[in-house]
Each structure stands twice: as structure tokens, then as C-alpha cells.
Subunit: 344 residues, 2 copies
């Protein structure tokens, strides 16, 4: 019996197949507000988590804030940037029942996506739509989860609603415009250039206005009776005007503060119009809430990619090593749709 | 054949039974900001409406605002004050299917309750709980419809929630405290006197504070992690402090502006806490929405009166002729619970 040789062979097989003995991985780390690829430890995989071998990771505006020290990760989350990825399940925790090794998934992450491997709760990874490649797949989770959560679960968007997307050419905007159209809603976009507005109109928005013009006069013109839903990443700068163009029983969802946080509010107008102001973030939500969001996304939205009713909007995919350049494109607001880091 | 005499007899019978030939009624009218009982015409009864012979009518704070010219009735509503009543169905429009002559009902009204007769859409009148007399019955519709709409339908109140009622000893407050208890929620009240606080504690509130003390420190003490729902008739004066004591994913429902309308709002706090601010009124809602509210009230709340889990809180009932005195009690904030005008 050549037991020693057999064991060595077996060990080599496991090592190659699962990289289990290689406990290091490459990840992008923040060094003095700059991004660098470094060696670090593999993430710990909890009993109800899966380990994903990352194929591509999406950029989000929150990554820039985190890089600059303005958006610390929630307790327990990875310190590594990255809120979404596509990839292959590499291993599963002992309580995992819904995923198995080799599954091709896209995943919503509380952090850690800018790395070769990332761990997340099993239900935050959902089956990748067949028609999408890894780069396209990585462009979906964060923006579609954000749109689904805020438009449908928070604002109760329903067929026939008129919906405004500020920053309409962003990842969230381009996802929102397509979702609105797919679910029978009319949308208006604001964006920084005519090129971006035209892009949104081609995606299905019915009207739009350049930021340097009077956006709110154009919204009134588009819907004299007011909007039903406004998804707003701007905050204070647009706040009072948003409420003025919001219709009876309209819902304003605040998902960002690019235009500041401190506002005035006329409660009388809010009451008479029976409006709702909803503050929302997705990252710090509970595991259970994210399970719900990803389940609804998997059931209601992902099939529309395979049916061709939705399409991923990828502005540019760059290799992992060009993460600094990828960030600079977003920082300059040059992108239409998503910027992706490819690890393939 | 004594046809002429028969006809006269028949006519007299109809006249006595339905008052159909007497097209006048007594109603309380506003004359130079004062209330006077006057003769006026019977209300028109539309095809989908019922005519109610009013037995008792509830007072609401909105009546005072309307009397003072600050709260005009919504389009199409009676100019006569009065947002709720108890009474007997006297006649029905030709399309009415759910009510018949002689039914004992309580009704939510867009106006017209301070009168011998009032007309309203058939589904806005619901069966009076058996255990309640006319005066008690008239104390229910407006405050319970307001609480049901705002706590359950708007704020999504659920078992285990911690709920704050400002003006806890008001009609709405005393209804809200009881509803919260009946549906497994913990409540805190603010009110103008120790007597009022004690009354609310006896009704089922778990804590309270007098308005002249630091209400918000007491709320923090009652629930360090914050409130889930705040039902607020005060507005600006409490607004920022309300948001500070509102917990993660808390809902602030603004239903009145006794403390002004113009406020400041920190959108960053709203986002991080994932809070909702909801402006709400009930009077101007659609007939269909009010149908839904009254159906839910009839199904979920009215049975609790017959079961003894809820009780009407009537501060005082006065005859129709003492409407001025009734208003003066409410204007002086002397009441705990409802003030009722009796027409019996």
C-alpha cells in the first residue's frame, strides 16, 4: 500500500480544486485613500454563508464614500470595498441548503466584493440569469435590489404610476427606468448631459431634463398633476422642489445626499397632499430583509433579463488591477450605467 | 270607492313614516363664527347614498377649524359641520344594496353631521355595535377610522410595536391607546395634565408624560431604542424631537398642526434610521378609500366593542341646542375623550 503517495495525491487534488490550503487571496485595499491590490486572508465562511469565487465586481457610489472614510461598513461586514459581484460558489457553510459548489450566482454584499473571494449569507446570492455574462451579472445586484426595495417594497409603485429618477443615467437610474417600463409605469429622468438624457429616453423613459435647466418645471410639464414616486439620491438641494412636484399621495424616497442633508419642510403641504417621505439605505438592512429583497428580485426581475425585457447597462469593464481608473471614471460622473471590475 | 280619502290616508302615512313631504330639517349653522340651530333643507340623497336620521353627532377638532373659516369642506361635501354620527337609515338611493330602511348605523361623514338628517355613501355607514347606545355610537367613526387608517393602513403598526400618542387624552388618543393594547402594542401618551395621563394609563397606556415636562426625555426612558410609530397632531413644535425619539424604521404620522407647520429636517438622520414621515388627513380621501377603511373597521374593530375589549370614551353629551357650549369645552381642551351632541 502506497498510502503516503495516495494521501499526497488526494491533498494536491483538494488543493487545486478548492484552494483550501491557499488561505490567501488578492483583494483591493484602501491605502491612504488610494486603491491597491494586496494579498490578504480568505474571508471566514459562517455556517449559513457561501464562499464565492468572484468573477466580476460592480462599483457603487458608496464605495467612493467608504474609500474616503465617509461611509464605514456596518458592524460585522468586511472592511474590503464592494457591494455586489458575480461568481461561482466555491464552498458552503454547514447549514446552507439552497446553494451548492459550482452554482453560478450574482450576490448582494455588505462589503468585500473587490476581492478574489467573498462570503455572504446564502440567500443573498441568487442564480445568475443565463443570458448574462459575468460582467453583466455583476452589474445587477446592488442597483436592482435598491430599485426593487425602494420602488416596490417601500414606495408601493404600481402600474400606471408616474416616477421620477434623478441621476437617471446612473446605475440605479438606468435600472429604475427599465423596471418602471417593464411594470407599466411612466418615467422622467434628470441627468447631467443631453447624451445621458437621450440614453434614458432610448431605455424607455418618456421625458427628461438636463440638470443645468429647470428640471422641476419640466416635471410639472410632463405630469401637471404631479409625480407618484420620486427616487432621489440628491437630498437637500432638490428636497422642497421634489415635494412641490410630487402629487397627491406621492412618495419621495431619499436614497442619497449628493446635494446635502439639511432641509426645510412644510408639514401642512405634506398633510394636505397626504405625501410620504421615506429615508432608505440597503446596506445596513437585516439579513432577513435582504433575503426577502433577493427572493423577490429572483422571482420577479431576473427572468426579465432572460426574456430580453431588461438589459444590463455596463459603461465599462476594467481589470482588477485598474481599480483606481475605474473609480476615477465614477468620480468624474462620466459613466452611463455601471462600471465593473473583472477578475476573469 | 273612497279613493280621495284613501289617497289622503296613504299620503299621511308616508308623511309620518318617512317625513318625505317635510323637506325641511333642523341643522346647526355657522353664523358669524357662532353656532345656531336653524331650519334648512333636507340633504339630497344620491343613488349610492343613504339618508340617516341622526341620533347623535360627534364633535371633532376639525369642526372648530371649519367654524372659524380655516378648514373648508372638500368639494361636494355639505357645508354643515359634523364628521360622524349615529342614527337610523331613513331611506336609500336606488343603487344601494348593503343597507335598508331601519338599519341602526354609525357613519363617517365628509360633513353634515350636525343636523337632523345627513346623507352619505352607503359603505361609510356601518352597523352600530349592539352594546353601544346612540351617544356612544356617535363617538366611534371619526376617531377609530382615523386611528385605523393611520396606525394600520399607513404606518403598518404590528404586534409588539411601541407607539406614541401625543394628545393622548383626546378622542383620537383614547381610541389609539385602546387599539394599541388590543392589538398587542405598547403605548406612551403625552397630555396636558396628570388627570389626563392617569386616564390614559388606566385605558392601557404603559407610560406617559405631562406636556409641561420633558416629554421626549420620558419617551427615551420608556423606549431607549426608540418608538416604532408616533401619531402626532402637533406638527412643527414636536417635529424634530419626534424624529429623534423615533427608532430604526420608525414611522411618524402627522395628522394635525396644532404646533405649526414649518420645520427643519435632517435627511441624513432620516436615511440612516430608514424612517418614514407620513402626512395624512381622512376627510378628503376618496369614497373608495373610505369604503376600505370602514370595511376594515367593521370587520376588525367594531366586534371588540361588543366583546368588551374596547370602550367608547364620552366626556360629555349635550343636547343639540347646546352646541355652542359643546364647542367651548373642546376649545378649552377640557375634555377627555369625545364630546357628543344628542338629537334624541
Amino acid at each position: 500500500m502506497n498510502t503516503g503517495a495516495n494521501l499526497a495525491k488526494k491533498r494536491k487534488f483538494i488543493e487545486e480544486r478548492y484552494n483550501l490550503l491557499d488561505t490567501n487571496m488578492k483583494a483591493i485595499e484602501v491605502i491612504d485613500n488610494r486603491l491597491e491590490v494586496r494579498e490578504t486572508s480568505l474571508p471566514e465562511v459562517k455556517d449559513d454563508e457561501v464562499l464565492i469565487k468572484v468573477k466580476a465586481a460592480g462599483l457603487n457610489r458608496a464605495d467612493i464614500a467608504q474609500k474616503n472614510g465617509l461611509y464605514p461598513p456596518p458592524p460585522g461586514a468586511s472592511e474590503i470595498l464592494g457591494l455586489e459581484c458575480s461568481g461561482i460558489i466555491e464552498s458552503v457553510g454547514k447549514n446552507v441548503t439552497s446553494k451548492k459548489m459550482g452554482d453560478e450566482v450574482i450576490a448582494l454584499l455588505a462589503g468585500g466584493g473587490y476581492a478574489e473571494y467573498v462570503a455572504c449569507p446564502e440567500h443573498h446570492a441568487i442564480k445568475k440569469p443565463m443570458k448574462l455574462d459575468w460582467i453583466e451579472g455583476a452589474s445587477i445586484p446592488e442597483v436592482y435590489a435598491t430599485c426593487w426595495l425602494n420602488l416596490f417594497m417601500e414606495a408601493g409603485m404600481k402600474e400606471g404610476d408616474k416616477v421620477v429618477f434623478h441621476a437617471g443615467a446612473s446605475g440605479i437610474g438606468t435600472a429604475g427606468v427599465q423596471l418602471a417600463k417593464a411594470f407599466g409605469c411612466d418615467s422622467f429622468v434628470s441627468a447631467g448631459s443631453k447624451e445621458k438624457i437621450d440614453f434614458c429616453l432610448n431605455l424607455g423613459a418618456s421625458a427628461g431634463e438636463i440638470r443645468s435647466n429647470d428640471i422641476f418645471a419640466s416635471i410639472k410639464n410632463w405630469s401637471p398633476e404631479g409625480a407618484d414616486v420620486i427616487l432621489d439620491p440628491i437630498g437637500a438641494e432638490y428636497f422642497e422642489k421634489n415635494l412641490q412636484v410630487l402629487g397627491l399621495e406621492g412618495r419621495l424616497v431619499i436614497i442619497g445626499l449628493m446635494g446635502g442633508a439639511q432641509s426645510n419642510l412644510n408639514l401642512g403641504h405634506l398633510m394636505i397632499k397626504r405625501q410620504k417621505i421615506i429615508g432608505s439605505t440597503i446596506r445596513a438592512r437585516s439579513v432577513i430583509k435582504k433575503n426577502d429583497i433577493m427572493k423577490e428580485l429572483s422571482d420577479n426581475v431576473l427572468p426579465l433579463f432572460d426574456e430580453g425585457l431588461l438589459r444590463p447597462i455596463v459603461h465599462e469593464a476594467l481589470p482588477f488591477s485598474q481599480c483606481e481608473k475605474a473609480h476615477s471614471i465614477m468620480e468624474a460622473n462620466k459613466n452611463i450605467g455601471k462600471i465593473i471590475l473583472s477578475l476573469d
